[in-house]
Symmetry: C2
Subunit: 141 residues, 2 copies
DNA sequence: AGCTAGCGTTGGTGCCACCAACAATATCGG
DNA sequence: CCGATATTGTTGGTGGCACCAACGCTAGCT
């Protein structure tokens, strides 16, 4: 599989990191797509699941999404009746976003997808190795 | 920095892997852009540096690039006089691509950029930790 | 000879991360 | 209180990356 890759690339740590991530993303993206969602959508639903009603700005911070992507994605989720939006009476600049019941059940479904993806992506590692890997990745930041 | 991220995301191994990769990519992309190149271009130049004259198909295999992206990118590199293209007399389906002298010196420059990026991206880890990380990432494939 | 595979071209797509400019609202400091 | 600055959300993008359909030409296999 890796036999043909040129050594100049294969020897780069950043290449190995990006290839591992690309493989992971491929699995995740295919599974999310099959479930009718993309990465931004899951991220937003996940934040709303954790935090309840939250402003778009806080949503973007918690999901690490640019506010323009929050606007685009929330608009799309609202069109699919997965979230609602209302002006925040306490701060008229803000719009509060909240899961609908349909949104909450979609999130549950997607959470299960994400859990399967973790199992699949990290299948080749022991629990110990996986912990080591994730600790090292965190240490990179 | 990570204080605001929602736990549902932060606890996913795939999230941690993609965030680490995104940070790495951000550094790499900024440095390549400053040097006048992008990821696909560096990959192709790197393969040509390793292998010499090579068909586009082999180029794509060695750089892990779709053949259409090979065509697009090689065309662009040729327009910038960094590579040449000629029909392969031994197989008339194939086009051989080769670095020009300008291409070779651009590759040298970019190799130095890539080396600096490795240093920067993995700065937070000891040599031992880095080796462990890269071994684990490889084991994922 | 006929069928299949490989090659390169042309021209895309969606996802992701990133951004300029604007109007409305809130906060801060004098 | 007022002016300056910051925040918020919208509108509408961009480039990089990974991925792909369809075609004509060439090569390999039976």
């Amino acid at each position: 599989m890796n036999a043909d890759i040129t050594a100049r690339l294969a020897n780069l740590g950043t290449w190995q990191l990006s290839q591992a991530s690309a493989r992971s993303h491929k699995v995740l993206h295919a599974r999310l797509a099959r479930a009718g969602a993309n990465g931004y959508e899951y991220r937003i639903l996940a934040v709303l699941g954790d935090l309840g009603a939250v402003s778009q700005a806080d949503l973007g911070r918690a999901a690490v999404l640019d506010r323009r992507d929050v606007t685009h994605t929330v608009r799309n989720l609202q069109a699919r009746a997965l979230v609602t939006r209302r002006s925040d009476p306490g701060d008229r600049r803000q719009t509060l976003v909240e899961l609908t019941a349909a949104g909450a059940s979609t999130l549950e479904r997607l959470d299960a997808v994400l859990a399967e993806v973790q199992t699949e992506v990290f299948a080749a590692l022991s629990a110990d190795q996986r912990r080591t890997l994730l600790n090292l990745l965190q240490q990179l930041s």
